[in-house]
Symmetry: C2
Amino acid sequence: MKKTQPKIKDVAFVAGVSTATVSRALTQPDRLSAPTRQKVFDAIHSTGYRVNQAARNLRTRRAGAVLVLVPNLGNPFFSAILSSINDVLAANGYSVLVFDSQQPGASEHAVADCFLNGSVDGMITLDGHMSDATGHALRSTNMMQQVVFCCEWSDQWQLPSIRSNNGLGTRLVVDHLVALGHRRIAHVAGPAENILAEVRKKAFAQRCAIHGLDISPDWIVEGDFSLGAGARAAERILALSERPTAVFCASDAMALSFITRCQQLGVAVPQDISVVGFDDIELAAFMEPGLTTIRQDRSGLGRLAAQELLARLRGEQKTEGAHVIFAPVALIERGTTAAPP
Amino acid sequence: MKKTQPKIKDVAFVAGVSTATVSRALTQPDRLSAPTRQKVFDAIHSTGYRVNQAARNLRTRRAGAVLVLVPNLGNPFFSAILSSINDVLAANGYSVLVFDSQQPGASEHAVADCFLNGSVDGMITLDGHMSDATGHALRSTNMMQQVVFCCEWSDQWQLPSIRSNNGLGTRLVVDHLVALGHRRIAHVAGPAENILAEVRKKAFAQRCAIHGLDISPDWIVEGDFSLGAGARAAERILALSERPTAVFCASDAMALSFITRCQQLGVAVPQDISVVGFDDIELAAFMEPGLTTIRQDRSGLGRLAAQELLARLRGEQKTEGAHVIFAPVALIERGTTAAPP
DNA sequence: CCGCGCGATGTAATCGATTACAATCCGAGA
DNA sequence: TCTCGGATTGTAATCGATTACATCGCGCGG
């Protein structure tokens, strides 16, 4: 049993060639004659050689890793996206380093400790927030070219962004409810500072206006995408004197707990009130009644983001600045919407 | 604006010291005199210096990264654990590299490509399966010392393992149901080859026997922890001529869809049938009725696993071989259990 | 006053792979 | 026959930090 890992020199010795030849066999096999290549591969197998990544990284000034910033890793919506990002990057020889950006100061830290010291080649962030400090640090090291937003984004930084068509999704919701006959529609929004919350809220207001609906300010409730927020919103909305007949929740999690709270308060869904979510998490199909919602193509979002980043890492980025790709959305009609009472 | 990142040599020049001194300021500040240390830190700030990880890794033969193998990244149960693993490791200067072990051949690949070439220092696996090839590869490179199981485990490899007290959790479930008066209890198990499924199923049978319950083989249904499996199990169990009055599902996801399917088939929970889950995912508290279940300390599991690994990376492992730590579980009584009809 | 020991710092070897440049060989064309 | 070009392979510099060892200076006991 060997004490130490074999190095390229050992392989070269066994194969009877130089270290340069071994290295070339690894990185550009075409440049070697067939017999030499074979000798080297045999030697690699017989010695059990493995390239030392640290050495390779040092020399090539690459890291072979990508940072993925996730706001709240525990949220299943994000982890599905992470999963598909991981698949694509792994298939292309990149490792995925994850960081939870909700950790206090984690985002700064992650960027500082991983990006600037060269331990990652690029970054995909699912978090639309990017502090000035982080942004400037990235810019000053020319790393801005290797950052891609996914799902969320920030208008402050001109960066490529893969996102669902939130405007369309919202319009589909409003149109669906209006078609059913609803004219009093509430909206449980995401947190105020969130770009998705903002876009969906604005699209909701616009679409309602187009249909000539009169939306009371009381019907717009701010949430935070979480389960708890849906329940709280239900209490507020059901307590209103002029109660809406339908609710558009900006996330499935909120829609879910909204419905639960309605049931607990003796309000039937969809008979008394219709509810629509956003995301189409797996559970939406497995509740009773099934949740009517907007499907986001989570694996597509992750895949596209990973591919966009890969293209940039290869130096193929066509467009400079912001390059926005919209992933498709679709209305999935299930059982939580019906005609108003 | 600088073209290139400053290196240690540049800092040394600015500070008027040698590179060795700068390096020492970074890694063992105590060994420097106060004024020198100050000079170096000033120079580091003024140059904007960042250590090059690849170079450091090469020299120190460390990677500063840990691999986490997750079966199905999209599963929120795992992502919560991943999140706490991440917190602990990040706080200790390690990056977290994730891999989805469900990718075909990914597990082998991940270990081969990351572990053996030195790009990670250790591994936490949430997947109880470890192929012979992987295990032997780890052993042959002395990497076995730096592997920790979390949640799931394998008896084949004598490795430290952090797990919930599955036996106790299962006993709590059975005792609870028996105390309510149930004597005909079904079990929706996990997949056959899964260690958690096996342990819970066995504990279930044993505890039922202790209570003198006669469990029909028809009442033991194999699932796979997923939402779909719960619905299918419900169909099978409700169709039985001799129907059980309570069901213990090996995961909350299965319990949830089991209940949904019951409702769809006109069977009331808990009036007609009681249901208990396992995990206590966040949603369990937000459904109606609330899901009675066994709480697993997900963040504790992740934290303990990370700490165990850190101890081993520091070379502090006390015990050789298998070191099992049990995380506490607790019965959370909500609304899906009641006395039998 | 000498020399020992210790703390602080510098010099240079080292980690292991990549790659610019040089050397060699071989066949084709003049 | 000689030269030129291309394909193949070797030599050695290089990436940037760490650290063994050497050096220096200083205080203190003998």
